[in-house]
């Protein structure tokens, strides 16, 4: 399994999270779907797909949370037969990021929640500020997306 990051500050907190929580896959991304770092995936197309789906799930669950509770749900968990997913918000200076983790029954939702809290704290300390006035989908989004994937999978 390999870890790859598009921004150097991501590596330490993501590695710590993976080591502690014993997850199979972990991806840190912008809510737009742009990847910042990942562990476990071997192909860039899989990372791109996971990010797109995670961003869509986040957008949907936020809207649903606003509808039924007046505020966005901070995290989401789905337990499959063999594997489970955990998708949670990670506050960063000036904005928010998303953490997607895939784990099996060797770990647990409780452990994911615990180590997610620690991950949030580390990201809060280490992440650079996210621009407040950046559009949801920047004009150069696709270029940035491809650049990050290329950096992570060795085609930069």
């Amino acid at each position: 399994m390999r870890m790859s990051v598009a921004a150097s500050w991501v590596e330490a907190p993501l590695k710590q999270f993976v080591d502690d929580a014993r997850v199979h896959y972990a991806v840190l991304l912008h809510p737009s779907g742009q990847v910042l770092g990942q562990y476990g995936f071997a192909r860039s197309v899989d990372v791109m797909t996971a990010c797109a789906l995670a961003a869509a799930i986040d957008a949907s669950s936020r809207a649903l949370g606003m509808l039924v509770e007046g505020k966005a749900f901070p995290s989401l968990h789905y337990a499959g037969r063999e594997r489970q997913i955990f998708l949670a918000e990670v506050p960063a200076p000036g904005g928010r990021l998303l953490l997607l983790a895939v784990f099996d029954w060797e770990s647990s939702l409780g452990l994911l929640q615990l180590y997610h809290e620690e991950f949030r704290a580390r990201v809060g300390e280490m992440a650079p500020p996210i621009a407040h006035n950046a559009p949801a989908i920047a004009a150069d989004f696709e270029k940035e997306l491809n650049k990050n994937l290329a950096v992570m999978f060795g085609r930069a």
Binding site: W105, S107, S108, L109, G110, L111, L114
Partner: protein, 116 residues
């Protein structure tokens, strides 16, 4: 935490001298179902870590051909952690080092028997 049908079972354990917390936790997800805790114990973190430990101890015993683990005890410098479970639920007890372990063990196993 809101009162659940398990509250009487938790109360039967917490009333023992030296017990500082009792939690009923899902063995697989490590989430707290109900708890009675004194200030100073991070319930969610403790529950998740101890449930994981209990689950691994149970699997170790099974892998060694020792059968199912019914009771688990961790002896630390300043206290003890006791755990026992049934049907994917685990009682976890946090106690001071000076407790009467034998008595507490009996009470814990009785509570486990009363789990659905």
């Amino acid at each position: 935490m809101a009162t659940t049908p398990f509250a009487p079972l938790l109360q039967s354990i917490i009333r023992h001298r030296g017990v500082t917390g009792v939690l009923l936790v899902g063995e697989d997800d490590g989430l707290v179902v109900d708890s009675v805790l004194q200030v100073g114990v991070n319930g969610a973190a403790f529950a998740a870590l101890t449930a994981s430990l209990y689950r691994k101890a149970r699997r170790s015993a099974e892998a060694a051909g020792l059968g199912r683990t019914g009771y688990f005890e961790l002896d630390a410098v300043d206290g003890r952690v006791l755990a026992a479970g049934k049907n994917e639920l685990v009682f976890i007890v946090v106690a001071e080092a000076r407790i009467n372990v034998g008595l507490l063990r009996v009470e814990l196993l009785k509570a486990v028997e009363r789990l659905p």
